[in-house]
Symmetry: C2
Subunit: 207 residues, 2 copies
DNA sequence: TGTGTAAGCAAGTAACTACTTGCATCCCTC
DNA sequence: GAGGGATGCAAGTAGTTACTTGCTTACACA
């Protein structure tokens, strides 16, 4: 039962390098150190194998974002950093998947799980930030989330190809995007700004 | 000499749909309404044909951005809109190119021309904006440019796959990203804010 | 009217593709 | 030690791939 795992891992690697058409059963077998026939005995067909391999690579858990923001810059920065790292580690396979998706729409479901989850988490956090009255500017959480995630995604996909287009140093990029976003939202790192409701309470407290 | 053009166009279409490995000479010939042998007589090899086809698809001129900003919101929004439209029209071929690039690095040069140009134009504009003293916040032009372009790029690539993750309506997305960026930079649409140098002159003038 | 050039067509090459079959070998378990 | 399941190996199938060759047709130009 171990060869099964090795085959799936090998399939992931070869797929990331060469895409669906390029990852032939022979190449997968070579990479797995296994006879080509074993693949067909284990999975029935190349398509079934790739389906399993994709299911595995795309089921990942993201770093969580707190339900109640306390330090937006720190919390968002560390989320952004873990997200960009996730994308960078998988940039090859993500590129391949995005390119195959039109031809093989069944890949879409598993592949879109992570970005959907990330977007939902981020939107939820930004909405909480807004409700806390910490944002000086009006903004649409979905647009803001798409902006930050888009910047991170493009960086992870494009930096290898055009390093001079993206901010330096690479390790600070996620932080820089995050800070820029927080400025757009008018979020400072101090205590929540009073909302109209909170104002009375705040005044009473300070009196 | 006309069949040459039709072959190149067909090659672009088939490549956009199926990528390098999927765009077989037979399929290209069918799409061009031409005998397969003609391809080899005209271009010598499939690789040479694809090279020419890529050269053609990636040589595009972008909407210009003025050297001297006057109305940042209007100017940047219309630039963003033309950029996102450019990417949307070519999303299939861009996805394919990005996915093939690791395997065929020679594609990189022609494919990276447009985003490099766009980044340079945008950086130049944002730097001018800064020098004019119109930005209330300090910012790194390259980071800001990467952020806006990243948001636009991710939208153009990802909306088809996950429409609910991106801001609605689609036609306003570029504008929304642009506005968010301008807020991050602290740019208002009025006259340039005085810089320290300009302050004296401004005071003299107003006195 | 003759000539050159671009194209079509039919056929064929060698390599590769996913996938199958038959048989030998291993190791685990009863 | 016998049986069974997983694996390896050699061979083969039918289809596809890029690319070639030889011959024919069509049109343009002189």
């Amino acid at each position: 039962m171990d060869s099964r795992n090795e085959i799936i891992n090998a399939a992931c690697q070869v797929f990331a390098r060469l895409g669906f058409r390029g990852c032939t059963t022979r190449r997968i077998a070579d990479a797995a150190g296994v006879n080509e026939v074993t693949i067909f005995r284990q999975f029935g067909s190349k398509e079934a194998l790739i389906r399993e391999a994709m299911k595995r690579t795309h089921s990942v858990d993201l770093a969580p974002l707190p339900d109640v923001p306390t330090n937006p810059e720190r919390e968002l920065t560390s989320w952004s950093e873990s997200f960009i790292q996730h994308l960078r580690l998988r940039s090859s396979i993500i590129r391949k998947t995005m390119s195959e998706m039109e031809e093989r729409p069944e890949m879409c479901e598993s592949a879109s799980y992570v970005p959907r989850q990330a977007s939902a988490d981020l939107c939820h956090y930004l909405t909480a930030l807004k409700r806390q009255g910490r944002a000086a500017e009006k903004f649409d959480p979905k647009t803001a989330a798409a902006m930050l995630m888009g910047a991170i995604f493009a960086d992870a996909m494009g930096r290898g190809m055009m390093p001079d287009v993206y901010p330096q140093p690479e390790e600070k990029a996620a932080q820089m995007y995050t800070r820029l976003l927080l400025k757009a939202l008018g979020v400072e790192n101090g205590a929540p700004r009073p909302t109209t409701k909170q104002t009375k309470r705040a005044k009473q407290l300070s009196a």
